[in-house]
Symmetry: C2
Subunit: 182 residues, 2 copies
C-alpha cells in the first residue's frame, strides 16, 4: 500500500541550462523519490532534465509531473489563489531547527509549494512567500535544503514510499545489492 | 559558543572532473555547513572544488579540512585502523527510517566516516563498510542523502552551528535579508 503524504509541489527558480543540469536533475529526483506531486521548472524549458527524470520514473515508478516554462511569479500567485501556501527555502529565513516555522506551516493545513533558487533569487520572492525558511543559516545546497525540508515535513515517511507502477524494487541489505523485478 | 558535534568525516568516491564539479562542491558545502571535520576527495585532485569551498569558508568560517588524491581503499582502511566506523550511503542498504541502523551506528560510539559515491561504486565498498545505509531505497542524490544522514545523526543541532572565525553572520528574518559583518 502506498503511504499518503500531504500534497507538496516544488518550484525551481533560476535554472540555468548546462550549468545547473545535474543539480536540477538531482533536485527533481529528490522530489520524485520523496513523493512530491509536481515540479515546476520556472521560466525555462530543459528537455534534458525531463529526460533524466523520465527515465528514472519509467523504471522506479512515481507520479510526479513536470511543468516547464511557466513564469515564476504567475506560478506562485496561481498557487496562492488556489489556496496553497508558499515556503521559500533560503539561508536568510527563519531557522527550521531553532524556530517554530515548520509548526506554523503545518498549522495552515494547506498544500505546500516549496520554492528553491539556483542563482540569487529576486527580492520579490521573499515577500510573495508565506514562509522564508532556512535549513540552517549557512550557505550550502538547495538540493540538501529541499531534502531536509521534506524529510522533516513528511516526518521521515517519504523514505519508505513505494511506487505501485515501479518495475524494480530494492530489498534492503546489510551488504551487497538485491534488486527485484516486479 | 560553538556546539560540539560527534566527529564525522566524508569520503567522496568517484568524483569526475567537470561533470561532478558542482555536485561535489555542494556535497563539500553541506559538509562544511553541518560541521563535518574533513572531506576526502578520493583518488583525484580537483583544485576548483577546493577553491569554491575555500572561498565560502573564508567568509563564513569553519574548520573543515580537505584532502584530495588519497586512494579510497587506503583512506577507508586507515580510518578503520584508527578505530573509526564506516557508513556507506547507498540506496541498496538498510533503510535509515524503517530499520534501527542509525541506532546501531550510534551504539558503536565511534567516529564516523561517511562514504558517498558519484558514479557506481565498486562492490568492495559494500563489504569494507561497517554499515550500508539507505536514505530511502530509491535513486535520488548523494547530496540529499548526506544532508539527511547528517541531520539525523546530529539530531538537527548542525543547523544551528556558529563558526567562530566567520566574517559574516545571518540574522534570521521572516522576510528579507539581514547579514551582519562580525
Amino acid at each position: 500500500m502506498e503511504t499518503r503524504l500531504p500534497n507538496v509541489v516544488v518550484l525551481r527558480w533560476g535554472h540555468r541550462h548546462s550549468r545547473d543540469l545535474r543539480l536540477t536533475s538531482h533536485v527533481c529526483l529528490v522530489g520524485r523519490a520523496f513523493g512530491v506531486s509536481s515540479i515546476i521548472l520556472a521560466d525555462t524549458i530543459d528537455k534534458r532534465v525531463k529526460e533524466t527524470v523520465g527515465a528514472v520514473s519509467e523504471r522506479w515508478g512515481g507520479r510526479m509531473t513536470m511543468e516547464m516554462g511557466t513564469p515564476w511569479k504567475e506560478a506562485i500567485k496561481e498557487w496562492k489563489r488556489k489556496g496553497g501556501t508558499v515556503c521559500h527555502l533560503t539561508m536568510y529565513g527563519e531557522n527550521i531547527e531553532s524556530s517554530d516555522v515548520l509548526e506554523r506551516v503545518r498549522k495552515t493545513g494547506k498544500d505546500v509549494m516549496v520554492v528553491i533558487g539556483a542563482a540569487k533569487v529576486p527580492g520579490e520572492i521573499f515577500n510573495l512567500a508565506d514562509f522564508n525558511i532556512a535549513i540552517g543559516n549557512q550557505p550550502h545546497s538547495e538540493c540538501a535544503a529541499l531534502a531536509i525540508f521534506l524529510d522533516r515535513f513528511f516526518n521521515g515517511k517519504e523514505l519508505c514510499l513505494e511506487f505501485k507502477d515501479a518495475r524494480v524494487k530494492i530489498i534492503p541489505q546489510k551488504h551487497g545489492k538485491n534488486i527485484v523485478t516486479k
